[in-house]
Symmetry: C2
Subunit: 203 residues, 2 copies
DNA sequence: ACCTGAACACCGTTCAAGT
DNA sequence: ACCTGAACACCGTTCAAGT
């Protein structure tokens, strides 16, 4: 077996994504990673001290890619801050359901001691901060009622996360559901209507 | 080793809950179940054909217990249908975060081929139907705007599930959050405000 | 920074044979 | 409806020794 002589760390990460796409998180094994790359089993441990830290790195990539996407979307949105909030929320859901493998890893329960992974936490946190800024903008323009923006962000995040996760986990399919873009739009629209000031409503 | 001579199936389920409480879902192993009960390793397979079916049975117990709880709560609520919806939604979240072990098993991703498990699906579905009936009642009294009640139920469920799951997974603690009862109340209140008809608002 | 080869303590699951 | 005892094909991880 020849030396790998490349960016093995990156090769591990990319191969891991492929395996998870093929066989789910449960199908991800160190041995399979090594085999696919063509490297010895313990080469892995030069780059990650254990499997959990690899999963943390994958999750972090997922949060980073979501963040990049949300920023790109925001750059193309109109200046109206209520519309920006609405569309960004919808974009979150669509990105999640379009990248179900990433999203599942991001919220895998084996990482729920999240505080331990400083870097992962900060990357994840960017997304919530983005949401919070959108909400603060709306409040400045008196389009959303006053109140702790952090709590409002947590409430919005809950809706986005719940809808994304239930959809990814196929919880809606047996009972049937509207196309995800429509469902996302009405869900977000309903919540924003609820927090909007009385003199301004969306839709 | 003596015969077990009891309801081994029930003993397996109860022991499984204990192990998961102690060590998480990942810590649940057939071998540990057998050891704790004091039964041979393959006795298990007389009652469950594999580990996944045990997890499905556990998840079903979780959905059943949530359903019983929601019905008990509903029995003590005032007749006002908007208040009943609000309080039932809050009760869902509080039950979830008060039984995090159960809730995590209920939505464990290894069971997300949910349709396969007929019985599990139907038990889970009861909860959504309960939510849907509460919404239909509100619509009949013209407290909530018209529209597909199934979709409205999916939207509500998304908020409840997202808030419960993020809280259970400790996603809020690093940034701090209001007491869960308050957070649940304002989250549900905001969404209901959004779907309420204009001439009637809660809070 | 990789390699080989072997090993350890674990898994879920199955089998043959008993009571 | 359980038991024993052994086995199979897997895991994550580690170690000693090489290049």
């Amino acid at each position: 077996m020849p030396y790998h002589h490349g960016d093995l760390r990156q090769a591990i990460i990319e191969t891991a994504w492929q395996i998870i796409s093929d066989s789910g998180i449960e199908g991800l094994t160190m041995r399979e990673i090594a085999t696919r790359i063509g490297v010895s089993r313990n080469a892995f441990y030069r780059h990650f001290t254990n499997k959990e830290l690899l999963l943390a790195a994958l999750a972090e990539e997922g949060f980073q890619s979501l963040f990049m996407h949300l920023k790109e979307v925001a750059a193309q949105l109109p200046p109206d801050s209520l519309a920006r909030l609405q569309e960004s929320c919808v974009a979150y859901i669509l990105h999640a359901v379009n990248h179900p493998v990433h999203y599942r890893v991001m919220f895998d329960s084996s990482l729920s001691n999240r505080k331990i992974y400083e870097s992962l936490y900060e990357t994840a946190r960017q997304n919530l901060d983005l949401l919070m800024n959108l909400i603060t903008d709306c409040q400045k323009n008196q389009l959303i009622r006053p109140g702790d923006p952090k709590e409002l962000a947590q409430i919005h995040w809950s809706l986005l996360h719940g809808l994304s996760m239930l959809y990814i986990d196929n919880q809606f399919i047996a009972m049937g559901c509207a196309p995800i873009a429509e469902l996302a739009n009405s869900a977000v629209g309903a919540l924003i209507e609820g927090v909007a000031t009385d003199d301004k409503t969306i839709l």
